[in-house]
Symmetry: C2
Subunit: 253 residues, 2 copies
Amino acid sequence: MSRTLAILNQKGGVGKTTTAVNLAAGLALAGQPTLLVDLDPQGNATTALGLTKSTLEASIYDVLLGECPWAEATVATKVAGLDLLPATLDLANAVVELATMEAREHRLLRGLQGAAERYAVIILDTPPSLGLLPINCLVAADAVLIPMQCEFFALEGLAQLEHTMRLIKRGLNPRLEVFGILLTMMDSRAKLCRDVADAVRRQYGPRVFATAIPRTIRLSEAPSYGEAIYTFDPKGKGAQAYRALTQEVIARC
Amino acid sequence: MSRTLAILNQKGGVGKTTTAVNLAAGLALAGQPTLLVDLDPQGNATTALGLTKSTLEASIYDVLLGECPWAEATVATKVAGLDLLPATLDLANAVVELATMEAREHRLLRGLQGAAERYAVIILDTPPSLGLLPINCLVAADAVLIPMQCEFFALEGLAQLEHTMRLIKRGLNPRLEVFGILLTMMDSRAKLCRDVADAVRRQYGPRVFATAIPRTIRLSEAPSYGEAIYTFDPKGKGAQAYRALTQEVIARC
Ligand SMILES: Nc1ncnc2c1ncn2[C@@H]1O[C@H](COP(=O)(O)OP(=O)(O)OP(=O)(O)O)[C@@H](O)[C@H]1O
Ligand SMILES: Nc1ncnc2c1ncn2[C@@H]1O[C@H](COP(=O)(O)OP(=O)(O)OP(=O)(O)O)[C@@H](O)[C@H]1O
Ligand SMILES: [Mg+2]
Ligand SMILES: [Mg+2]
């Protein structure tokens, strides 16, 4: 049974791309054929996997506009079992163009038709907003994995995100669920971080993954080498944490 | 001579709100009457200054739709000389509503008419995107202050931001300039951080502020007390850095 997971939080810089890349790679290395779709106009997931945007012939932009099937825009990555549907800079134009199209919230769902037959898991990396591109992800996804930094602004943002998800579930995608909440960049020396983590676990209970991702310099360095953490720093705390997360995700699928 | 500065970077979590709040407070404490405008639907600047969104009678949303003059939605803050034009959650709806209005890129410029007579500096805090709200900020601003984390994704994002600014300068706002690039959350122990900082200073020269903001836990805690850093941790490294930045900004105005 294939699952499509959106990695989503409108708060910026919480580790969406870092989680999308390292979870997708972890799933592929665990034997689950995985497709990572980059829906962020910044194209960070595409860069983090070592691809050069200017050499790409097609991208998610063409798929959303219906001009190219997903299979033609999809490329292999250095990680066996992990394919990527990349983003290029013209994706920034898609938001304005999509707004005028019919079924504008369903463009991604339509564009990915058939992909669920080839992949066990499809991971969607999203930009930091609740605009048309993230909405397309909420319509196409079965569930949402919410990365969250243990910072003061995080709890307020979570309430806003849940509100938007309820609207989408009621109108556009009745199967949409919260897959899990992931605590990222954990610095257990900081009291604020511990307090926020406790508050989240109290409020959201088992929906919060047991695995929390620590703040490690290696995780922030890996993208500059175009590698997932498992080859860049295989024995480090970052790789251990994302391997443990991968197992929790497989267990919940 | 009044200046309107947009604090802008489409990359998420780089310290836009932390800089907007602490620079605006720093300017007010240095005797420059300052207005901080919160244009992020998350409303983090509004919360960080201790305001409760549900008690606000009017907000930037009403000003953008032309239903309320800016002076009526503006509130005083705990910092003498600093006023705030707050954001509430309904700002998330503004993007869709603005898209259908005439002069949709000029709504903020029109909405703030007259504010430059009352304030020496107007600071605009923006959401992490290059959509209609940030575009409104680029049209209303004289210049852009770009906070940047020393991370791998940062340099790629900067090129994209400069491209968008060139388009706006050519079409909608000929006076738009780069006011300065601010290095934030600097962790000088990390080699990647030092390498990116060197690359930015080489490429952008004097446009990069001499002051770099260090990563300090106190800066991430201050918003949970609704205070700027100068009262929360007056002798710490965060307050020192933002005081030094405030002086550099006054010198460039
Ligand atoms: N666990 C971690 N430890 C250290 N650094 C991290 C960690 N996770 C992410 N980072 C770094 O923090 C920054 C933000 O992470 P990332 O880009 O993944 O967040 P994002 O939510 O995708 O951002 P955006 O909102 O812009 O899409 C990046 O520089 C990344 O390398
Ligand atoms: N110099 C610093 N040292 C430590 N933490 C910081 C620093 N600057 C910002 N932070 C923290 O990092 C997180 C991101 O900062 P902030 O919210 O200001 O970024 P932003 O660019 O406004 O994010 P968004 O893109 O979501 O609007 C916050 O939790 C903030 O408290
Ligand atoms: Mg990202
Ligand atoms: Mg912000």
